[in-house]
């Protein structure tokens, strides 16, 4: 008999663990499965901080936080969701502090808050520049406490299919990495918290694990992906590795300069300068680089004027990263940075409780699109989203499970079917190995669907993806035929996810004939077009490719205005 739970959480980053804790505390029997050990999840790599209007550094309010978020989203965020988000965020932060999160403190001993991009007040709570690490640790501490009370965590289980019976999601089918074998785990409700898909791009801040597993699994069960063309490019990722240098560097006063030393942001965002929103800064950098004012395809993040003490106390992790991966000590020299793929605003469409279109299936964190971030996310809002909407989805999934009947009997047949598929993958000995498809996809997405999107390049990218898809479908060779820790197998499956999401992104991107947030078409549609495109892209899988429709943006009190910083 397969393991069965009230609530089954897939993914154990900040959103998944927060959801699991909430469901457990509401009396549900909770199982968590993750392809990594929970503390290896990519939430832990978040650096700069987490936004909540505590007002510890300067006057602030949830309304201000909401307005900044709506404006940052280029008015594509759903305003009711944003109001819930900013209203509930402060208590969620206090909860984390009570659990023991090791946040940085201000002179009064309260949680310190630093300025962040496009924020009207310093509202980013942080732990030096390892905020994500501190959150992952405190959440896993709480998870371990609950494991002693019966919560079960399946580590290094690679989920690759959802079990949907009679229109209701009742479990997942996964590959057991340590022991091999296709395993079924069921739940009366299921929460997807599998994170993003930054690995679509060769220059990305994202971990190797960020391959859009949950998005693709949902897509293949008929669920819509919302606003999937909106990929955020973070303005300060190191050359050439793509490793993230936090926005906190600019929050603490860092400059962006071109090869002449000019703080070019004044020409693009005369008021906010380096602290304009991320889409604006990434576009400005790209313009500078394309105009020949960069250095080796990068511009500089200059911290020299901050001095050694501030760098050592507030930004020690960034300094270590720069020294290790760029060979630069930021006390003495600027760090070469460029825009790199960072965060998917789009994802599986959910309501404000994380519920998807399928009964019993919830989603939270980067895999989901509520939407709080719209066309462009503000720095510090994603960690907060994982906590607040992780908690909400955990609550909703537990409440649903409380009154729900047990899963049906279809699980074993679905598992056997999945097992047949995995065996056929492993049995194939003709064709190419997946890595060149992966590398070509990553490089071409960067070239053709990056910060600026040109029509002819997007069309070309559609063809490239189709060609890669054909090569993938023709049969790829998995060299490792064994059961134990077969990452060759899981990486091959992940590549299929990447191809699925790329197709959806291109289709939605080409159809959106405007520039909004992270989707920028300066050569054919440079302006925002509220008349036609103040709406969500909705992508569904239709046989062998995506099908695009549109949905309404939920507005409450903020009418679209021109967006300047």
């Amino acid at each position: 008999m397969e393991p069965s739970f009230d609530v089954l959480v897939v993914g154990a980053g900040c959103a998944g663990m927060r959801a699991a804790i909430e469901a457990h505390d509401r009396g549900a029997r909770v199982g968590v499965i993750s392809k990594l050990h929970p503390t290896r999840s990519h939430s832990g790599a978040a650096e700069g901080g987490i936004n909540a209007a505590l007002g510890n550094t300067a006057e602030d309010s949830p309304e201000k936080h909401a307005f900044d978020t709506v404006k940052g989203s280029d008015y594509l965020g759903d305003q009711d969701a944003i109001e819930i988000f900013t209203r509930e965020a402060p208590d969620d932060i206090y909860q984390l502090e009570h659990w023991g999160a090791v946040f940085s403190r201000n002179a009064e001993g309260r949680l310190d808050q630093r300025p962040f991009g496009a924020a009207g007040s310093p509202r980013t709570v942080y732990a030096a520049d390892i905020t994500g690490h501190v959150l992952i640790q405190v959440l896993y501490e709480q998870l371990q406490r609950r494991m002693a009370e019966g919560m079960t965590v399946f580590e290094e289980y690679f989920a690759f299919r959802l079990l949907v019976e009679d229109g209701r999601c009742t479990g997942v089918i996964s590959w057991d990495l340590m022991n091999g074998g296709v395993k079924l785990i069921t739940g009366k409700s299921v929460i997807l918290a599998t994170g993003g898909v930054g690995r679509l791009y060769r220059a990305t801040t994202n971990a190797y694990a960020c391959t859009g597993d949950g998005m693709s699994m949902a897509l293949h069960e008929g669920l819509p992906l919302k606003d999937i063309e909106f990929m955020q490019f973070h303005p300060t990722t190191m050359y050439p590795s793509g490793i993230l240098i936090t926005e906190g560097c600019r929050g603490e006063g860092g400059y962006l300069i071109n090869k002449d030393g000019e703080r070019f942001m004044q020409r693009y965002a005369p008021n906010a300068l380096e602290l304009a929103s991320r889409d604006v800064v990434s576009r400005s950098e790209t313009t500078e680089i394309e105009a020949g004012r960069g250095v080796n395809g990068s511009i500089y993040l200059d911290l020299r004027h901050l001095g050694a003490e501030k760098i050592l106390t507030k930004l020690p992790g960034s300094r270590e990263l720069a020294m290790t991966y760029a060979g630069v000590d930021p006390i003495y020299a600027p760090i070469p940075v460029r825009p790199g793929a960072h965060y998917h605003m789009g994802g599986v469409e959910t309501d404000n409780w994380g519920l998807t279109e399928i009964e019993g299936l919830y989603a939270a964190g980067e895999v989901a699109c509520v939407s709080v971030h719209g066309a462009n996310r503000l720095g510090g809002n994603s960690l907060m989203e994982t906590i607040t909407f992780g908690r909400r989805s955990g609550q909703a999934a537990a409440e649903y499970a409380h009154g729900a009947p047990p899963p049906g009997n279809g699980g074993e047949a679905a598992r056997a079917d999945a097992e047949t598929w995995v065996k056929s993958l492993l049995a194939n000995t003709e064709g190419e190995r997946p890595w060149s498809i992966r590398d070509e996809l990553g490089q071409s997405m960067l070239d053709n669907f990056g910060v600026f999107r040109r029509p002819e390049k997007m069309e070309k990218q559609v063809e490239i993806i189709a060609g890669l898809r054909e090569r993938y479908d023709r049969g790829i060779v998995i060299e490792d035929k064994g059961d134990v820790f077969n990452s060759d197998l899981t990486q091959a499956i992940e590549l299929g996810y990447l191809l699925d999401i790329a197709s959806c992104m291109l289709q939605a991107g080409i159809a959106r004939t405007e520039s909004r947030g992270a989707h920028s078409r300066p050569y054919d549609f440079p302006d925002r077009d509220d008349e036609h495109f103040l709406k969500h892209s909705i992508s569904r899988w239709n046989g062998d490719g995506p099908k695009l429709t549109y949905g309404e943006v939920r507005m409450t009190q903020w009418k679209p205005m021109e967006r300047t910083y």
């Binding site: 206090y94 009570h98 064994g482």
Partner: protein, 363 residues
């Protein structure tokens, strides 16, 4: 650049073990992890290792290079390749190998869970807002909170090699993370628990954990802090605690370590009597200084003054531990070594930043 690697391959199903050599063409900025990826892509898809963030924060890729634990993503290969060295890559120590470079981390996490790794709040009624705590008070656990659970310290732990039940450096550092947290209310219970057999007093102070930790957690310092906190709270029944206490007493009273008295003071009289034969043997060889009259150091007042000074400064407990400060020390010394450098005026300095509007004004 051409990078050569010798990798210990292992198949837990068959028990086959073999050292295989690979050569890959890697970019100059490549890390060990990048090179393993190239081996897996271009040479052998069955090579098994863990990876995820590739930026020193997820803790997945702990392994050994030439016998010492490293994070593969933190090791730049340029210098090694240029020297023509071909390092040997193997799985971490003290943990069962599953396949190639992948170890079973369950024993690691079992130890972690044994220290109750979660806050046990001191406050009965949670504050409506955050607890107010000064930053210097939180700094006490700064290093311990940097731990990414990679297992490098456990891999290198000599004590754990001798006693697999030893709690070990990672779990004890996690313990200090809570003992040092002013919000935790279980300090005494924790110190009692960590002082049990296989606990904090079983560390042999080899300092390999401090040396090999890729994040500067300095687990040995954390263990020392736990020991000091235990004694401060009167939890000193363990032989290890008595042993340490005798060092202090001995140094304070005579300025020397009185080794002859060390055994009975540590083990107690009854247990020491059993060692009499061994002691007599040592005495015959002239290895036991006579206990009476005690040998008092000529400058014993210095040692006593030092003791008094530490007392008056209130440096008992964790605050009295002089820390290795490996990570911070390295950072600061690197900084000091290049101190006085002007970041703006050297030949290769990047240009001094200016705002476009400033140029317009001057123009």
């Amino acid at each position: 650049m051409q990078v050569g690697l010798k990798i210990w391959r292992y198949d837990s199903k068959t028990g086959d073990r073999a050292l295989r050599e690979y050569e890959v063409d890697a970019p100059e900025e490549a890390t060990l992890l990048d090179c393993l990826d190239l081996v897996k892509d271009k040479h052998d898809g069955s090579l098994a290792y863990r990876k995820s963030c590739r930026m020193m924060i997820c803790g997945s890729c702990g392994m050994r290079m030439d016998g010492a634990a490293v994070l593969a993503c933190k090791v730049r290969m340029y210098d090694i390749a240029k020297e023509g060295r071909v390092p040997v890559i193997s799985a971490m120590g003290n943990l069962p190998i599953i396949k190639d470079l992948v170890v079973d981390m369950d024993p690691f996490w079992e130890k972690m869970r044994a220290v109750d790794p979660y806050l046990q709040p001191r406050f009965d009624q949670a504050e409506e807002r955050e607890n107010v705590i000064s930053q210097p008070r939180m700094d006490v656990i700064h290093k311990e909170s940097l731990c990414i659970n990679c297992g490098c310290c456990v891999s290198e732990c000599n004590s754990m090699e001798a006693d697999p039940d030893f709690l070990g450096p990672a779990a004890l550092a996690k313990g200090m993370r809570f003992v040092g947290d002013p919000r935790d209310g279980a300090t005494i219970e924790r110190l009692e628990k960590y002082s049990e057999p296989h606990g904090l007093w079983d560390c042999t102070r080899c300092y390999f954990c401090n040396e090999r930790c890729p994040k500067g957690v300095d687990p040995r310092d954390a263990i020392a802090k736990l020991g000091a906190e235990a004694m401060k709270n009167g939890i000193d029944r363990d032989m290890g605690a008595k042993h340490a206490k005798w060092f202090v007493t001995s140094a304070k009273t005579t300025g020397w370590l009185r080794e002859t008295e060390l055994v009975p003071k540590t083990q107690g009289i009854v247990s020491s009597i059993k060692e009499m034969k061994f002691a007599m043997g040592l005495a015959v060889k002239g290895k036991v200084p006579p206990p009476f009259p005690p040998h008092v150091a000529a400058e014993v007042h210095e040692s006593r003054a030092l003791f008094d000074l530490v007392k008056t400064q209130g440096r008992d407990g964790a605050a009295g531990i002089v820390q290795g400060e490996k990570a911070l020390g390295r950072i600061e010394s690197h900084h000091a070594a290049s101190g006085g450098r002007d970041p703006y005026t050297e030949a290769d300095s990047a240009p001094r930043p200016y705002l476009p509007s400033e140029r317009e004004e001057t123009a």
